[in-house]
């Protein structure tokens, strides 16, 4: 079923926010193709009338008591941030040039 081209790997990498090098794209194109061909056999037995399982132990509407608890320590969170400024996470600009 699968046949992964170089262009598709580039597209997947873009979707997954991975800035791959050219060498990596070549390397992964072959490997992803082999893996996907191998896993595609799930469709051999996936008949239409079989319900899907998303979770091993079925649970619905799990509630807990709504009690006030302290949040994370602000200074400890700040210490783990890659950039912190004026009591906030500092992030790069969020809009592209165009």
């Amino acid at each position: 079923m699968a046949s992964i081209t170089r262009e598709e790997v580039e597209h997947l990498a873009r979707l997954a926010r991975l800035q791959l090098s050219d060498a990596e794209i070549d390397h992964y194109a072959g490997q992803l193709d082999v893996i996907l061909q191998s896993v595609a056999r799930v469709s051999e037995v996936a008949e239409a009338d079989i319900p899907p399982t998303s979770h091993p132990i079925p649970m619905v509407n799990v509630f807990r008591d709504d009690v006030v608890r302290p949040g994370l320590d602000r200074e400890a969170v700040a210490a783990g941030a890659p950039a912190w400024e004026d009591d906030r996470f500092r992030v790069p600009r969020i809009l592209d040039e165009e």
Binding site: M1, I4, R64, L95
Partner: protein, 501 residues
């Protein structure tokens, strides 16, 4: 015989706890002995990514002080433990074996750590693992591989190779692992140690950095079945902070390990988890162990689980799909690595550069497979079909457990392979988990315990016991009986035959 007359690091947790309770030895002495052992051997084994001697000794002294004051303490109080580096411990590094989290210190404890601390277990350090638990050899750690104490040129299994190697190298008598597709059981098998994946939801996932949320489960690792049960009892149970945590009493695993009795137990051999692809010595030791279980009074029958042959394919769609979503949080904005932030690049560019620099090859492979499987046009054929296979596998288990109490198989198809042998061959690597994956897909409980050395290479072989959800105690009842019979035959635990390093 007083425990102090022996090397403290070779004692099991139950023995150490009893000796501390009797005042023969202090927790500080026990803790120092293990820290000394780590100093002596870990440059060769590399089980640990981080050791916390000051904090461990302070905790041990606190236990000793409270014991002297007559305070009632738990059954594992003062016993040292190695913690897999995928569980948060406040203020201590938690890397998940990844560069992207290098230097990050979590501001909170995982529930597992909270329970270990309230049980007065002494946490020695954080153990090495395949990056974000993706792997079966610990070679995919960004910080270098862990080595198997039985043969330093071989892998200790994965992803929890650090935890298993710490046990086999006598650096700790207890360890915590996590098991998404076999990451507790396969390392246990190839290092001659014991490991249990509890029923899904049996141990809280709060503070466990997520790989595949519907499969991940933390669990106990040790050198004996009883120690594993004691640790299981310490960490298991409902937690309101994990919505998938099971709100039911934890089965009495300690009593089951002590009972160690298979008389009248119905044990099923899974036809699909044997034969072709299994190393000769693995099959031989497995057959012998089944013979012992029969001699002990179990009723052994063969059962068929016809859809297990599709489990590997389903797993390598479901896991990457969930992982690609879970790992989206590593975007370089709130914690961990940020790369390429030069005040000119946009947030999107910085995210892509950060993830490129911070993730290793296997993580990138799986993120892309998951992204592909979830993308429109492919979703039904891949992820949707895999979820249906998951239903078929659960039905196979249900049908089998109508006939038998537990199922058994070899834990892994081979003994420990050489470092480097499969590292860039993903499909060959994935085959290591062929016998362990069905349990994760269905949410069952399972154990691996050592059953001997393969004659052809002298390396440990593990037997897997699988029980229905919430019947974790059956693992310990059967595992305890088999372990006792093997110790009776050998005169000691298998791990006693490991090289002295």
């Amino acid at each position: 015989m007083a425990v102090m007359e022996h090397d403290l690091v070779r004692q099991d947790a139950a023995t150490l706890a009893r000796a501390m309770g009797d005042g023969e030895v202090s927790s500080e002495e026990v803790t120092r002995a293990h820290l000394d052992r780590i100093t002596a051997v870990d440059d060769r084994v590399h089980a640990f990514l981080h050791v916390m001697p000051e904090r461990a000794i302070a905790a041990a002294r606190d236990v000793d002080r409270r014991r002297a004051a007559g305070e009632p303490l738990g059954p594992l109080a003062g016993v040292p433990l190695a913690l897999k580096d995928v569980l948060t411990m406040e203020g201590e590094p938690t890397t998940c074996g990844s560069r992207i989290l290098e230097g990050w210190r979590p501001p909170y404890d995982s529930t597992v750590v909270e329970r270990l601390r309230s049980a007065d277990v002494i946490i020695l350090g954080k153990t090495n693992m395949d990056e974000f638990a993706m792997g079966s050899s610990t070679e995919h750690s960004a910080y270098g591989p862990t080595r198997n104490p039985w043969d330093l040129d071989r892998i200790p299994g994965g992803s929890g190779g650090g935890s298993a190697a710490a046990l086999a190298a006598f650096e700790a008598p207890l360890a915590i692992g996590t098991d998404t597709g076999g990451s507790i059981r396969q390392p246990a098998a190839v290092t001659g140690t014991v490991g249990v994946k509890p029923t899904y939801g049996g141990v809280s996932r709060y503070g466990l950095v997520a790989l595949a949320s519907s499969l991940d489960q933390a669990g106990p690792c040790a050198r004996t079945v009883l120690d594993t049960a004691l640790l299981h009892a310490a960490i298991a149970g409902h937690d309101a902070r994990d919505s998938t945590s099971i709100s039911a009493p934890v089965p009495d695993v300690v009593a089951a390990a002590r009972a160690a009795d298979v008389r009248g137990m119905r044990i099923g051999l899974v036809r699909e988890l044997s034969g072709e692809g299994y190393q000769a010595g693995v099959s031989q030791r497995f057959d012998e162990a089944v013979g012992i279980l029969t001699d002990l009074g179990a009723e052994v029958v063969e059962v068929s689980c016809p859809h297990f042959e599709y489990a590997l394919a389903a797993y390598y769609l479901i896991l990457p799909s969930e992982a690609s979503s879970n790992l989206a949080r590593f975007d370089g904005m709130r914690y961990g690595l940020r790369a390429g932030d030069d005040d000119a690049r946009s947030v999107e560019e910085v995210m892509a550069l950060t993830r490129e620099a911070g993730f290793g090859a296997e993580v990138k492979r799986r993120i892309m497979i998951g992204t592909y499987a979830l993308s429109s046009g492919y979703y039904d054929a891949y992820y949707g079909s895999a979820q249906k296979v998951r239903t078929l596998i659960t039905r196979d288990f249900e049908a089998a457990f109508d006939k038998v109490d537990v199922l058994v198989s070899p834990t892994a198809p081979t003994t420990a392979f050489r470092i480097g042998e499969k590292v860039d061959d993903p499909l060959a690597m994935y085959l290591n988990d062929i016998a362990t994956i069905p349990v994760n897909l269905a949410g069952n409980a399972a154990m691996s315990l050592p059953i001997g050395l393969a004659p052809e290479d002298g390396l440990p072989v593990g037997l897997q016991i699988m029980a229905p959800p919430l019947a974790d105690d059956r693992l310990y009842r059967a595992g305890g009986a088999l372990e006792a019979a093997l110790v009776d035959r050998w005169g000691h635990l298998l791990i006693e035959e490991a090289p002295s390093l």
